[in-house]
Assembly symmetry: C2
Homo-oligomer: 278 residues x 2
């Protein structure tokens, strides 16, 4: 198969890690790209010339969908829209809206007869000095977990952390010059000591507010998950997260605009040079 004639590649998994999908070959004709904030999504949406799809989501939801083609593959970018429930007009950040928006988008793609075969969650994140992270770094994530769902009852403790090992992007990351690591998710932009204990236990290289909930929905639908995250702030650095985040949000969004087409092209061209990973 010529790499440019079809958007096809072998999705190769560690069978033991992604038990429900196992090693198999899949044709990728549709990639769903949840990007929570409008400001994170806009440069990429504009760059690919994606168009807003009216009526993609139920009318009482805030979510937005943009669709188009790239590299012979259908691309649906979903953002979580703006808050109207609390009257703030802010972006609907956090796990509940991300889970719901991603669920509805996957369901819609199935109902349309063109189900998404990959959830590529893109956005900003915090990085960690202790893991060698720096502002502007692009990470392809290897797994997700929560750091703010503490339920100290056997069984529920594992459920709360919600660790999922996802699509292995090691070879792709080497090829494209990106880093790899685990993304830890919590509903706060900042963190407290107890959060950090869990972030360390999760061996996190990225900290965000949605990844683990989006990966939960992807696994529920049996669709592989890949996280593409750009560092806006250093979690274990000297500056308050909110200051660094706001300062670097727009440059990070530009960085996503650059990185996401490369990742899309890589996964749609990949024809399975390795048995174990992308």
């Amino acid at each position: 198969m010529h790499p440019f004639t079809a958007c096809t590649f072998l999705l190769l998994f560690f069978a033991a890690l992604v038990s429900s999908t196992k090693l198999e070959s899949m044709t990728i004709q549709h990639v769903l790209v949840p990007i929570v904030m409008e400001a994170e999504a806009k440069p990429f949406v504009d760059h690919l010339g994606l168009e807003l799809v009216e009526g993609f989501f139920p009318p009482h939801t805030p979510f937005l969908a943009y669709q188009g083609e790239h590299h012979n593959c259908k691309v649906t970018v979903v953002t979580m829209g703006k808050d109207t429930v609390y009257g703030t007009g802010m972006d609907n950040v956090g796990t509940t809206s991300a889970a719901l928006g991603t669920f509805l988008a996957l369901s819609r793609s199935e109902a349309d007869g063109n189900p998404a075969q990959l959830v590529m969650n893109a956005g900003t994140c915090g990085g960690f000095q202790r893991q060698g992270g720096g502002i502007g770094d692009v990470y392809l994530t290897t797994g997700v977990a929560h750091h703010d769902r503490r339920i100290p009852i056997p069984g529920f403790d594992v459920y709360g952390i919600g660790k999922l090992e996802t699509l292995n992007p090691t070879t792709m990351a080497k090829t494209l010059g990106y880093k790899t690591g685990i993304c830890t998710t919590g509903n706060s932009l900042d963190w407290v000591e107890k959060d950090d204990e869990f972030m360390k236990d999760n061996n996190a290289s990225c900290k965000d507010m949605e990844a683990a909930s989006i990966a939960w929905i992807a696994k529920m639908h049996d669709v592989p998950y890949l996280g593409v995250k750009v560092v806006t702030d250093i979690v274990d650095g000297p500056h308050p997260t909110q200051d660094e985040f706001l300062e670097n949000l727009h440059s990070a969004a530009k960085s996503l605009q650059d990185a996401l087409p490369k990742v899309l092209e890589y996964v749609t061209d990949k024809t399975g040079q390795s048995d174990q990973e992308l």
Copy 2:
């Protein structure tokens, strides 16, 4: 109108508090009752003789629905089912699954042409000594907020706390001998000091893991929300939450079995003796 001939009552709101619903009269023909855990729901489901509805939810979701009639009103109890994504088999507690399950149930009731007109979220909660709470107390909640979504950026801070003042149950609570107060929600069974600062700011009488996300979905659908919560443990008491919770879970579920029919009967009989509250 005879109170027993139809499940009708005037839903009366503080217009300023529940801006999207305002003062209006509604006929309650269908009440949706999200109860997260099977153990919380079972005595009530059995008591009312509700039956499991196969295919109520999309096939890849874990949620369960039980339907029947009580007091001439359709009742749909929804539980969040058991975890299969992480392989723990535990109940799907926390905000993401509660939001998704409630959203899908409301959407299904609309699609069936019999939309739920009230979301009555029932379950266990932590109580607070400092608010006069004791184990076994039944609370009808007056509002909800989050205590673990800290986003210190103007606008996002308000969004994160996500405070909603909901249906005012003061008169009903006096009539039935129940307490009233605000329910604060977080994804952990335990709490850290920073959580407690937010719980105090929220003026919380109840602490749970789902209410604020369920109320968020209800408001998105423009359906009023009422919380019915039974105290299993004392948040600011001497015992670890998990020990008290497990010890009192089954007695609390029996207490819900007793309280929920009374609340259902009250709201379906209420014909608007007050302009301001139930």
